[in-house]
């Protein structure tokens, strides 16, 4: 961050937040926030506050905070909805766009306050301000309706909302591409490729909210914190800029052993990490330059028992293994929304399981669909068995 932006930057304090999330906030401030915000430590000199309501003693902390700073503009972060009067709410996992909007709102409140010398009231829906509910009520809600809500939300996070496009219309086609290299995904794919070339040791990535170590031989990712999921998802949507100081460092086996002995590192599957990251970043789009009319090659079935399973991924795999089809024809053949085909393709590309066969001629959709396989005589039985398996899970 440069000196000039710091001067006018809004001083924001984070309360009830762990270090990794704070680090993430800083990255948002410096990246898409364009240095308009600045994270500070002391509440006394803060111009605004971001309060995490999911911490251990959050309710107590909140009561104290509100008593001491009743009028400090505040963004409330939580996994569950909280309509706390006079605050701006942002649901976790944090969506960058929504978070930036909330920040802009806070900034505007500050400016209005400066202009009128008065505290603006926002979104008080005729009810008294209430404090955060107790831990138990929040857990109770989590167990029931929230899970369904979150499942649906997760689906959108993995596959986006885009409706089908007409491949003949270039203005529609443009919208389905994204460039992995503009995001963390591109950086991780490079790191992954790099680590695959190592005979021993691994790759350390520094500059994220937590250090991460890639061990491709073991298909492991070592990570400093447990609940990295939400932070990671937010990170994946951050456009990478020159200001994001990411570094790749090779680690020798002994250095890794040393870190394992001294630091609390959690291991997770590297494949699933890259797969998820690609889904989150792509959100139903496909990598820039993907030819829509050429056939997809799926090298082999992904290990679906240990990967996020997106809608129709099993059918798409079976189809591609039996016969290559283009992305557009696949959606047509299976009669499913294109975004599910795109999402699966992007994830499979990220772990090098899928690619476009550039050798194939562009076929007319009619001719390729004509070659589709005839119906299996036991299709009806299979349908009922599938329904039984799905229902009984």
């Amino acid at each position: 961050m440069t000196q000039s932006t710091t001067k006018s930057a809004l001083r924001i304090v984070a309360v009830g937040m762990d270090k990794p999330t704070q680090r993430l906030l800083e990255m948002v401030f410096n990246g898409p926030g364009r240095g308009e915000y600045f994270l500070i430590e002391q509440l006394e000199v803060a111009q605004a506050c971001i309060f995490d309501l999911d911490g251990i003693e959050a309710a107590k902390l909140w009561a104290n905070y509100r008593q001491q700073y009743p009028s400090l503009p505040t963004i409330v972060l939580s996994l569950n909805h909280h309509d706390v009067a006079g605050t701006v709410f942002v649901k976790k996992p944090i969506e960058i766009e929504k978070f930036l909007k909330a920040l802009a709102k806070i900034k505007q409140m500050k400016e209005e306050e400066a202009a009128t010398g008065d505290l603006p009231q926002i979104s008080v829906k005729g009810q008294p301000a209430h404090l955060a509910p107790t831990q138990t009520t929040r857990e109770a809600k989590l167990a029931t309706e929230i899970t369904v809500e979150q499942e649906e939300e997760a689906l959108h996070q993995y596959c986006g909302y885009h409706s089908d496009i007409n491949p003949q219309r270039s203005e529609e086609v443009e919208k389905i591409y994204y460039d992995p290299n503009n995001y963390l995904q591109g950086f991780f794919e490079k790191a992954f490729a790099f680590s695959q070339q190592l005979e021993t040791g691994g790759i350390l990535i520094e500059g994220l909210y937590t250090p991460m170590i890639l061990l491709s031989e073991k298909n492991q990712l070592l990570c400093g914190c447990e609940a990295a999921e939400n932070q990671l998802r937010t990170m994946t949507l951050l456009p990478l800029s020159k200001s994001s100081h990411l570094r790749m460092i090779t680690l020798a086996e002994t250095e890794i052993q040393q870190r394992l002995a001294t630091e609390k590192l959690m291991a997770q599957s590297l494949d699933n990490f890259l797969w998820k990251m690609a889904l989150w970043t792509a959100r139903g789009k496909i990598p820039k330059g993907t030819d829509l009319s050429k056939d997809v090659v799926l090298v082999n079935w992904p290990n679906f028992t240990r990967l996020v399973l997106t809608p129709h991924a099993l059918e798409i795999s079976a189809l591609w293994i039996a016969n290559p089809y283009s992305l557009i024809d696949t959606a047509k053949m299976l009669n499913i929304p294109q975004r599910y085909v795109f999402a699966f393709f992007s994830a499979a590309c990220a772990i090098k399981l899928a690619f476009i066969d550039r050798r194939t001629d562009t076929r007319s959709p009619a001719s390729s669909l004509a070659g589709s396989r005839s119906e299996h005589p036991k299709r009806n039985l299979f349908k009922r068995l599938l329904a039984r398996l799905r229902g009984g899970e």
Binding site: T305, L309, L381, A387, E393
Partner: protein, 182 residues
């Protein structure tokens, strides 16, 4: 009402009984199958009893899917042809903690070669929590040499979802244009 069967095979300890139990509506029973074994080194025929795992899945219209687990002992492979007759497809479980899992893979693919040609196979690699090698990519490599490219999943036979996914993948392999009825 019709009857169908699904075959589970693999070496002893690979998790066949456990996988069948995960899917079956009834407690898995080990049926005694008596068979006459012609020992090439002896003049006589000897009668042996082999344990055959059996489970059952019932569908809405009362169609029955009979789940059969082959006896793991390779010396009973004379039974396999009879057992697979009319079967829908093959679930092959390979125990990754055994001495030579890739050899096990080759052995069972060879033994069920004709059945696989007529239907499809889905391969579940079990006990990967105990032994992470060989990796799934090595299984794929081995299968490709044999001209096969079936689903190969990391499966814990004690986990119903794993077993169910493997079976779903087998069904889609048999008919990719399949859609579950809702």
């Amino acid at each position: 009402m019709s009857n169908y069967k699904l075959i589970f095979t693999g070496p002893t300890g690979a998790g066949k009984s456990t996988a069948i139990a995960a899917l079956s509506e009834i407690p898995v029973v080990t049926t005694e199958a008596k068979s006459t074994l012609r020992n090439p080194h002896q003049e006589f025929k000897t009668t042996v009893t082999v344990g055959l795992d059996y489970g059952l899945l019932k569908l809405k219209n009362n169609d029955k899917i009979h789940l059969y687990g082959t006896p793991g002992q390779e010396r009973f492979d004379f039974m396999w042809d009879i057992l697979t007759e009319g079967g829908l497809g093959l679930i092959l479980l390979i125990d990754n903690a055994r001495i030579a899992p890739l050899e096990d893979l080759r052995f069972f693919l060879k033994a069920f070669e004709d059945f696989i040609k007529q239907t499809q196979v889905a391969v579940g690699i079990t006990r990967m929590d105990l032994s992470s090698k060989p990796k799934l990519s090595e299984y794929h490599k081995e299968l490709r040499k044999l001209g096969l490219n079936p689903p190969v999943f990391d499966v814990d036979a004690r986990n119903k979802k794993d077993v169910s996914l493997l079976l779903q993948a087998l069904l889609y392999s048999l008919d990719p244009n399949l859609k579950a009825e809702r």
